[in-house]
Symmetry: D2
Subunit: 362 residues, 4 copies
């Protein structure tokens, strides 16, 4: 259970790091959207390992294949099944994991919950699971762009204590992709890259913050109570591996302001209702207000480090374990397309829900 | 849509601040739990307005009535319907709201989404909606306590820039309830109360942080991908009015650490696997690891302030609006039972899901 | 669990035959539909006991009250909560039911499943539960009529072995309501009424068949696989108390025909694709084809009879039990509004789903 | 939408008759069930075309591959993804279907709903879609058998007007599989086979009835209102291609009896509550009563016949169309594993729901 996300644009991911591969079924995509693998692969390439000197050197081509749901290059309105084969999957580096629980990983909780665990490569808790999300998210992004003119993007705005400057109103995808750490602040990007390389050389790892952005939303997406736009975004982000926090608009910093300081005044700007500031983060009462939606997601430092750490084995004996193999010293650059994908999935689902309940049908 | 929360312990809230009242239907509560209104009312009393000098002086008794689902003091396994009548609901203070949109409230987004709005008192966006959640949460808490020995509580740990000290392992409900701001740090509580009174005297408002805590969970609640325990908690918290952020365990602060500093080592402690530190916040890979679950929720300052603010009216003319009537200068003390309720609802749902999938039926 | 029906127009019913009443929460109704209790009460009056000489003489006014979801006579797009108080509920006639299981009732299965049972009046298995469905169905019917021009009705077409003639293309609500058995074949209605009175005088009961009809559907409602229109109608009908069968279009009789005899040829009729015959019952491949949807629902004879019957008690001793009190000798006339309600709920849900997935938002 | 079935044991099917294949993702299967392709393939072989002289001679091996969810021959508790490649899929026989709508098929409704259609081989409306259901159903059946001792089977009990004798309490899988029409009444099976061959020689087709049976259920599976066991079974059966009716227990025939004749008396039989007769079909008040569950499903005659039939083309011109290629003259023998699969999926889902809500956890 728990492998499905969304109500009307609904995705189900499957697959472990070992075995026949990973994939996703997308149900609810409207018909007649132009779609081929070429719409999907670029986002998978931004997610895959081995793409730059600051990610893991593991080689996985992560080539996607659409197995159903399209005909002559267009969606049919039926489930879109996508599949990425596993390659290069099992290595001796993982053998110790069969009997020892990696600290701050999912090994121990999985084993206890299910009484069984696909230990090579982390099984279902492997970041490979996010391949299905990114593939589905690419479809959601295309739909948002072509049908509603909504643009979704994300960027790295903090690595450890290195904080970038980024204007959520103006940052572009080109700026984000202009460096390997996916930070639109070029000067800070340099320092982040250096930091990541240094940390890797020490056998250690770092975390950071990804900022998610959605521009061009109409007023009215979202709903007032449990399925607030920010609530669904929060769930989406905290469902990504290694995330520890989410804040929208003014977020945690906003608690230091008073109401007078914090409120977003309304003004009529050229016939359209706008807010003078955007501390709300584009959402009021759970519903989009037409301003830019932006939020920040905290990613903890990667748990696998190249040092002996205290742990227990499956017999509950105290022991130590040292990370081996090829791992990311920092997950942030590869997390950017994941955040974009989850953002797009939330938005397109709310777009369809809004259409169903509130758009007059004639 | 969007008025239902949970999969197996499923609640549906209803009601506006005007009209016949507010309520909730709880579906999925196991049979033969002892339950009367006396189990519910205390939490509603902690949520209701007028309970202390630092909350709104509006008088609402918020008396709950159980309309179905119990028989001779026990649950039947059928839907539990609970209803709280509205009283004292409409006041002249609200008349201006019929035509002017309150800044940083839901008026404008509601009106645009639905083309209609129950403007007196805020309608469905009123905090009265949370009555149903708190009532349902009281049942969830009782079930967690009696069946699994799990204790859920919350407390105020920050008001504006005033930060309290609280140990999530040892704080007690009695400490939380020992002062009207619901902060277990007695010295800081004094200062918080003073601050709130001062801010009120200035016609302004403040926000803050509530810490949520759940102790005594078994290993294994939660699930690995979309329905991670922290993802469902994040959604639950961001679905509460006025929330802007959520972080679990080390949260945003954790991004400054390296992996070596951040990881929670495992040790066998008296035959049980424990972590030496708890930066994970009791959850690893989306599944509880048996340590205390704790998280922080950011609440923005209350949007209604007693000063003229720029806004637009329903004809889109620029105008100003000044808050009137009786409002909370700080929502935090009343938010504590809301956070507890949503926490309990998430946990009990995962407890039942875990039972369904992973507990052998003997 | 299992007290919610529908995905986008979603109802949750609650209530037992004893206690505070019965009700329903309707989530997902579009905003700005004119709605007051006057739209609901007529269908409840057609469902209530004591309405004619062939139903139970129990007096229950079944007066509905809308507690939320409307403002100044229009729907808000928020949950519509409706409540009907219980009256005249517990009678000595039921005392024996505390310890003896009524044959072909739900007493034994409930008691065993839940370990507890609201035995007075049948608890949740009482036909009173359908009050919530009929109230919600009245809203769905109004929406179907006003937004899509779809007409839903039902009528009694068989009582025991008495089979009426009814043309699904032309039968009117006025014809159905012209007699107390709700059979549009006036001559057969007379005989049905006589039969029911005779059976009652013998302390026995009868069943029969209700035909459900929906006219004016556009082409395209429904979906191809699990949520076929006929599948959701079948579930809806078999969820009504006392139902034992469902067939659409040619139904069971169709199995005797060959493919050549059974197929519905297509013809262009004045620019519109029509079928020459309608053995498909208005649905092909799970999707409406624009022809009249019609189906038949089998209701078993009422289980409560005024004769001693063999049964067991809660100690599992063999014993006998004789029905007492005031019961329907035939549930069919009161089942007509239930079938209409469930039909409307299925259709409006599919209408909204179709809007979400397939209607271009322009 | 509408490609997912079940709540706790949840399957999502995908795939068209053209393209990369068909498949299913099973979410919610408990961990540590022994499972390999060998558990799945036998049911697919019973479903596949070309298995006998009375099915279509199309050759499709329908070899299943498990892509995820198992490890060393056991289920992991994670999604089980299964895939069957398409072979031999497109033939010139289908070319005319690109522009002409086959009578009593889904071509016209699909084209109108989605504005696009995978016309070769029927696309998503192809019976190939049921491969995923049968594969998932094989897992459900194994789970039912191994964990709860519940046996699910189905058999053909009518072909056109040829009615077999079958005792739902004693019929065995071996009897069902002893002939190619899957009818346990050997004498009638002979006549059915002759009839099907004759009908095929005439270029025509026939329908019939499949009886579904589940033995060994405990008391208590199911739920009282919308998710009655018979309601979910009805939906499951009417979601299969070509079905027109469902009846449980006494079904449509039961309406001719009086209550006294129809009721199932309870008796204590060796310490267990049993019913003397079983007109209820093993379900009372939506919940299993421990007796054998049995029901009948009506399948219409196959729509594809080898004769010219009136229809329209995509330009809405009147025209004619004659079936070509290799088709089943009677779908019944291949429908048996489909009915078994859907039955098992409904039952295992209710078993898990019952566990979650009503089974004490210690």
């Amino acid at each position: 259970m728990g492998n499905t996300f969304g109500q009307l644009f609904r995705i189900t991911t499957w697959g472990e790091s070992h075995g026949g591969g990973v994939g996703v079924v997308v149900d609810g995509c409207p018909p007649r959207l132009a779609l081929t693998e070429d719409d999907i692969q670029p986002d998978l390439d931004r997610r895959r390992p081995g793409q730059s000197k600051i990610t893991t050197p593991r080689k996985e081509s992560d080539t996607v294949r659409i197995l159903s749901g399209t005909f002559e290059g267009q969606t049919l309105g039926t489930p879109i099944s996508m599949w990425v084969k596993n390659e290069d999957q099992r290595s001796d580096a993982y053998n110790e994991m069969a009997t020892k629980f990696r600290p701050s990983h999912a090994d121990y909780t999985y084993q206890t919950k299910y009484g069984i665990r696909a230990w090579p490569g982390g099984g279902r808790s492997s970041a490979r699971e996010t391949i299905g999300r990114v593939a589905a998210g690419a479809i959601a992004r295309k739909l948002l762009r072509s049908r509603w003119g909504v643009e979704v993007l994300a960027c790295v705005t903090q690595v450890q204590d290195l904080v970038a400057t980024a204007d959520v109103e103006s940052v572009t995808a080109a700026q984000v992709e202009s460096n390997i750490v996916r930070c639109p602040d070029a000067a800070m990007a340099e320092r982040m890259i250096e930091r990541i390389e240094q940390v890797r050389s020490e056998g250690d790892s770092v975390g950071g913050i990804v900022t998610g952005i959605a521009r061009g939303l109409p007023v009215g997406w979202g709903s007032p109570v449990f399925d607030r736009l920010e609530a669904d975004l929060a769930k989406a982000m905290l469902s990504l591996p290694a995330t520890k926090g989410f804040e929208i608009g003014s977020g945690f910093a906003g608690v230091s302001l008073t109401g007078r300081q914090h409120n977003d005044a309304f003004r009529n700007v050229e016939g359209r209702v706008r807010t003078v500031t955007n501390r709300s983060g584009g959402v009021q009462g759970g519903i989009s207000n037409g301003e830019t939606v932006y939020f920040r997601v905290a990613f903890k430092p990667v748990a696998t480090v190249m040092h002996e750490q205290d742990t227990v084995d499956s017999e509950l004996n105290n022991t130590t374990l040292k990370g081996r193999g090829r791992h990311d010293p920092c997950v942030l650059p590869r997390a950017v397309p994941m955040v974009e994908a989850m953002t797009a999935l939330v938005l397109v689902d709310h777009a369809l829900r809004h259409t169903a309940q509130c758009v007059p049908s004639s």
